[in-house]
Symmetry: C2
Subunit: 465 residues, 2 copies
C-alpha cells in the first residue's frame, strides 16, 4: 500500500523529524521546509544512490559541483533572462496576484467557493511576464540599482555543467559519449509554491548532461528513459505509481527535440486518474542548443545567436571522423525533494497489531533507511545491559548506521523505529548477559530471532544487502 | 612536506580537475570557484568524515538540513541585520571601494607601490557600515522596494539550527547535553574575497551547536577544541601546520564568552611566522544568547531584547533539577572549502624519480582520496586485457571507489594518479591472462607487488583501512 495522500506524510514527517516548516517560530516563509535528522539522512541516501548508480557504477560520467551564483551572462545566453517566466495577473478587487495559467487551482479570496478570476467581483489586469529567477547584487556597490552587480540564484544546476564542458573535457580526457552529473540547490521564485515539498522556491536537483553525437541522441535518450524507471523502482517506488508522459510539440521547450517526463502518483486521492500523477523527473533531448549558445560567436542556421561575451568555443573535435561539431545533450533531471516525497508515500504502510490497533510502518528499502539498526536495552536501569547495548551499537557503527535508544518502553521504541523505517531492532535483555545473544526484530514481519552477538554484524549485513 | 604556497595548489587544482574558476568562459565572477570531478569527491569525503565522526560515532548529536532562505526575522533577532557588517570607505580619487580595516592589504590603483589610503592622491570618505548579507526578494511583488518581501541568503548555517531547537528536541526526545550538526552553503557579500578558495562569497560550512548546562560549557568547550585538533590530524593535516589562537576580549563577538580559533599555515611563504597562519575553524562558547534571543519575549537581566515576533519559548526544562533555563551553546564551526585547501596543501609532496625528474604526489589519506584505486590496462589495443581490466574495476566498485583509465601510456597514467592522490594503481598486463594476477602499485613508495585477482579486493581493503 501507499500513503492515501500527501497530508498523511506531512504529519508523519513533522511528528517523527523528517521535515519541519522552515522559520516556523517566525510564522514560516511560504512553503519552505527544513529537513530534520531523519530527513537529512534520507535525502543523503537518495543522493548517494543516484550518484553511485551514475558516477561510480558506469564508466562514462564525471561529477561536478558548480556555484549557485554565476556570472549574469550565463543566464543571458541560456535564455533564462528572457524566457524563464510565468504570466501573472493582479486582481484589482482582492489585490491578489495569481499565475494566469493556474487560475483554476486558486480560490478567490473574496468568494471562497469560486476560482480566482471567476468570481463576481474579480477584476483582473492583463497578464505580464514575471521572471522566476531570484535576483541579488554581488559586491559592495554604490546603489541597489547598479545593474553591473546584478546576479541571480541559479534556477537549475544544468547551466553550471554546460559552462564547464571544456574544463571537464580537458582534465578528464574524455571522448564522446560521456556525461557530467551534478547535485545541488536551485531556486525559483514560484508564484504559487505548495503541496508540501512538491513545489518549493528553494529545492535540490540531481541533473546529468550526457554529451553525444547527434545521430546517437535518440537511442541514448530512450536508454535513460528506461534506465531511470528502473532506478526509481530500485529505490522502492512501485511501477504502478510511475507513468511516462510524452510532451507534445506545443509543450516542448524551445531547445528540446523530445522530452519525456516520469510521473509519480503524488495525488492518489483524486478521482480522475490522470490528475493523480505529476512530474517526478524530466528527460530531455536538448539538441546542440546549450554548447552552441555558450560558445564564442557561434552562428546558427539563420546567422543568429551571436555570443561575443563567451571566451570559448565549446565545439568538440572527433578524431576518428576528423570533424568538429557541437555535441547533442541528453538531460535526465530529477528533484531530490520530489523523490523524497515519492519514496515516503510509496513506503507508507499501515498494519494492524494483535490488539487490533493500527500501526504505521515505513517500508523503506534498507539502502535508503535513515537508520539501519536500532540497539535497544530492555531495562534502562540495569547498567550492564545499557553498557552492552552501547558497546554493540559502537561495534556495528563502522559497518552500518546504528543508533542506541533508551527513551521509552520496548513497545514504544519498536513502534517508533517502524514509523521511521528502521529495518531491524536489536534488543538486549537480561539473558543477553548470560547467553551472549540478542533478539533481532524485523520491521516488516515483526518476527524475532535470537542471534549470537559474535555473529550479529554478519547477520545484519547479509539481511540488509 | 607541504605545498610552498597556495598558487601551487591553484595550478594543480585547475590542471587536474579539482577546482575551476566559476563562470570562466564569461570572465569569471570575482573569486568564485566550481569543483570538478575530483574536487566534488574530495569535498564529499571531508564532509562525510566530519559527519561520521560527530553524528554517527557519537551518541549525542542529531543532523539537520535547514533552508538557505529563511524568514527575515531570523536575521533581525540573531543580530545580523544590525551588526553583521564591514566598514567601507570610498576613494574620491580612484573611485575604489575598500574595507577600512584591511586597507593595508590592498594596493592603491593610482599608486601601484602604495597601500590604498596611503598614496598621495588618495582621498578617502568617512567609513560606513556595509552589511554582508546578500539580499533578495521572495514572491511576486509589486515593486523591488517592497520591504515585506525582503529576504537574505543565510550568512551562516548556525541560525537554522537555533530556530529548529524545539523541533529537534521534541522529535528526538533528547536531554541535555546534545548537539545538532549541519553542513550547507552560506553566503557573505565580502568586499575583498580572495586567496583562491580561502575567502569566497559563496562557501560551505560544517557547523555544530552543542547545547548544555551553563556550568558544563567551559569543560565541553575545551573538549571540542582538543577533539577537533585530533580530527584535523586524522584527515591528514600535520600538527606542525596547526595552531590555536585565543581571541582577546576585544575581538570576541558580543555573544561569546570565549572563542578559540584553530589556525592553519595557509601562507608558508611569508617571512613572519605569525602571518603564515590564518583561520581554519572557530570554536565559540556562545553562552545562552541564541536560544534566548529567538524566544518569545524573553527578558535579559536589563529587561531588554524583547521578541514579540517569535511564537516559541526555547527554554529547556531539566526534569532532574526541576528547573527551566536557556541552554548554553558551544559552536565548532569549520569551512569545507578551507578544509579542502588545507588538506590539499598538506598532502602536496614532490619526489624525484630515477631519471632525476620531479614528480608531484598528493599524499591524501585513503579515506579522503577521490579515487581509491585506478585499474589500468597495460595494452589498450588488446581486447582481452581491456575486458579483464573493466571487469576488475566493476568487481571492486561496490567496495571502493574505482575507475578504469586507458587514456595514456602506463607512465603517464601512474603520474596522473599520483598527482590526484589515488593510493593504488592496479595494472593488467599480458601475463595477467595467464597467471590470474595483477600488479598493485603504491602511490607513496612506488613499490609494486603481484597480487592474485581472487585476493585483490581483500588485499586493497586491508591496505586502504
Amino acid at each position: 500500500m501507499t500513503a492515501p495522500n500527501i497530508e498523511t506524510i506531512v504529519s508523519l514527517a513533522k511528528r517523527r523529524g523528517f521535515v519541519f516548516p522552515a522559520s516556523e517560530i517566525y510564522g514560516g516563509l511560504g512553503s519552505s521546509w527544513d529537513y530534520g535528522s531523519l530527513g537529512v539522512e534520507l535525502a543523503n541516501n537518495i543522493k548517494q544512490s543516484w550518484w553511485r548508480w551514475l558516477v561510480y557504477e558506469r564508466d562514462d560520467i564525471e561529477g561536478l559541483d558548480s556555484s549557485i551564483i554565476q556570472n549574469r551572462l550565463v543566464w543571458k545566453y541560456s535564455g533564462h533572462e528572457t524566457t524563464f517566466s510565468d504570466p501573472l495577473v493582479d486582481c484589482r478587487a482582492c489585490k491578489g496576484r495569481f499565475r494566469q495559467d493556474k487560475l483554476h487551482d486558486v480560490k478567490c479570496p473574496n468568494e471562497p467557493s469560486a476560482c480566482a478570476g471567476s468570481g463576481k467581483e474579480c477584476d483582473l489586469t492583463e497578464a505580464r511576464e514575471f521572471n522566476l529567477m531570484f535576483k541579488t547584487t554581488v559586491g559592495a556597490i554604490a546603489s541597489e540599482d547598479d545593474e553591473s552587480a546584478l546576479a541571480y540564484l541559479r534556477p537549475e544546476t544544468a547551466q553550471g555543467i554546460f559552462i564547464n564542458f571544456a574544463n571537464v573535457l580537458n582534465t578528464s580526457r574524455r571522448k564522446l559519449p560521456f556525461g557530467i552529473a551534478q547535485i545541488g540547490k536551485a531556486f525559483r521564485n514560484e508564484v504559487t509554491p505548495g503541496n508540501f515539498i512538491f513545489r518549493t522556491r528553494e529545492f535540490e536537483q540531481m541533473e546529468m548532461e550526457y554529451f553525444c553525437q547527434a545521430e546517437d541522441a535518440p537511442r541514448i535518450h530512450q536508454e535513460f528513459i528506461d534506465g531511470f524507471q528502473r532506478w526509481f523502482q530500485s529505490i522502492g517506488i512501485s511501477a504502478a505509481n510511475l507513468k511516462l508522459y510524452e510532451q507534445s510539440k506545443e509543450e516542448l521547450a524551445h531547445y528540446s527535440e523530445r522530452t519525456v517526463d516520469i510521473l509519480y502518483r503524488f495525488f492518489p486521492e483524486r478521482a480522475d486518474e490522470n490528475a493523480q500523477f505529476d512530474e517526478l523527473m524530466g528527460i530531455a533531448n536538448r539538441t546542440d542548443f546549450d554548447l552552441k549558445t555558450h560558445s564564442k560567436k557561434p552562428e546558427d542556421a539563420e546567422g543568429k545567436r551571436l555570443n561575443s561575451d563567451s571566451t570559448e568555443d565549446l565545439s568538440y573535435f572527433d578524431e576518428a571522423k576528423k570533424e568538429r561539431f557541437y555535441p547533442y545533450v541528453i538531460e535526465p533531471s530529477a528533484g531530490v525533494n520530489r523523490t523524497i516525497l515519492a519514496v515516503l508515500m510509496d513506503a507508507y504502510t499501515e498494519k494492524t497489531n494483535n490488539k487490533g490497533e493500527t500501526r504505521v510502518i515505513l517500508k523503506l528499502k534498507p539502502e535508503l533507511a535513515p537508520i539501519k539498526v536500532a540497539v535497544l536495552p530492555l531495562a534502562k536501569n540495569k547498567p550492564e545491559i545499557v553498557a552492552l547495548a552501547k558497546q554493540i551499537k559502537k561495534d556495528l557503527q563502522p559497518a552500518m548506521r546504528a543508533v542506541y535508544d533508551d527513551t521509552g518502553g520496548i513497545g514504544k521504541l519498536y513502534a517508533r523505529q517502524d514509523e521511521i523505517g528502521t529495518p531491524f531492532c536489536v534488543t538486549i535483555d537480561h539473558e543477553s548477559l548470560e547467553d551472549d545473544a540478542v533478539t533481532v526484530r524485523d520491521r516488516d514481519t515483526w518476527e524475532q530471532e535470537r542471534v549470537k552477538i559474535s555473529e550479529l554484524k554478519g547477520y545484519l549485513q547479509k539481511r540488509l544487502s
